[in-house]
């Protein structure tokens, strides 16, 4: 069964709301698409990465705005947009991590989120400016055979 529509969440930028974001997006994807459990898990992880970055920037900047998570379903696509009101960043300038066989690698506890989002989705688009960042995570439904 597939459904069309939009599910929107506006959550406080606090880590304890991450689980709610994952649950809602996971439920929308599982009930409104033919995606299989592994694909839904991938989407939940990608969304969690985007929402984590959004909450982190709101926390660092002391922003009280809510983080907006908008899940759009159509016949062809599931798209989840995560929008924050942070000062933006250059997604092409995210530094790469040292090689995993280098002792230096252990000095880095962050820096994996953007790479994971790209790996977990068919397309990830990051639009960032001075008024905020919107991350759009897309999974094509036409060629997904996971649930059939």
């Amino acid at each position: 069964m597939r459904a069309s529509g939009v599910v929107e969440l506006r959550v406080p930028a606090r880590p304890e709301f991450l689980q709610l974001v994952r649950s809602v997006v996971g439920a929308a994807a599982a009930s409104g698409t033919d995606l299989g459990p592994d694909q839904v898990a991938d989407l939940r992880l990608a969304v969690s990465e985007a929402a984590t970055n959004a909450m982190e920037v709101h926390g660092l900047r002391g922003l009280t705005d809510r983080v907006v998570v908008r899940c759009k379903l159509s016949d062809e696509l599931i798209e989840v947009e995560v929008a924050d009101r942070g000062p933006g960043f250059d997604p092409d300038a995210v530094p790469s991590l040292p090689p995993v066989d280098s002792p230096e690698r252990l000095q880095h506890e962050s820096g994996l989120g953007v790479s994971l989002m790209h790996q977990l989705t068919d397309q990830t688009i990051i639009e960032s400016g001075r008024d905020g960042t919107a991350v759009r995570l897309m999974i094509n439904l036409r060629d997904s055979a996971g649930g059939r």
């Binding site: 880590p15 991450l18 992880l45 995993v100 252990l106 962050s110 994996l112 994971l116």
Partner: protein, 115 residues
């Protein structure tokens, strides 16, 4: 649910079995637990992720930080994990090449043979 731990000793290893979701909400508790163990002189740790339902890059980063911390004290850290979805996240980040990962605690402790 909040991240919870079950602690046991398998001399010379301390096993921390982790229950819950290892994300930005849960990771600080793991960091705190590892800091506490190392401060108490326990720098050979087994982190049992068998009951971890979810891990993301923040959780991975915390596990990387735990490895760095124990190694800084001449210790070591082994992971236990057999859940494909959790393992896959390590693999996607190439961290399966950084950590020694075993399927269960017994094989982890026995395979090391290190004292």
């Amino acid at each position: 649910m909040l991240l919870e731990f079950h602690r046991s000793a398998r001399d010379p290893w301390v096993v921390l079995a982790i229950f819950g979701e290892l994300d930005m909400a849960g990771a600080p508790r793991l960091r705190q637990a590892v800091v506490g163990e190392v401060a108490g002189g326990n720098n050979r740790l087994v982190l049992d992720l068998s009951a971890v339902d979810f891990i993301d890059s923040v959780g991975l980063g915390t596990v990387v930080g735990a490895l760095r911390r124990v190694r800084a004290h001449d210790g070591d850290l082994i992971l236990v994990c057999s859940e494909p979805r959790i393992l896959r996240v390590f693999e996607m980040c190439d961290l399966d090449r950084v950590f020694e990962i075993h399927a269960d605690v017994d094989s982890a402790v026995e395979a090391t043979g290190r004292v």
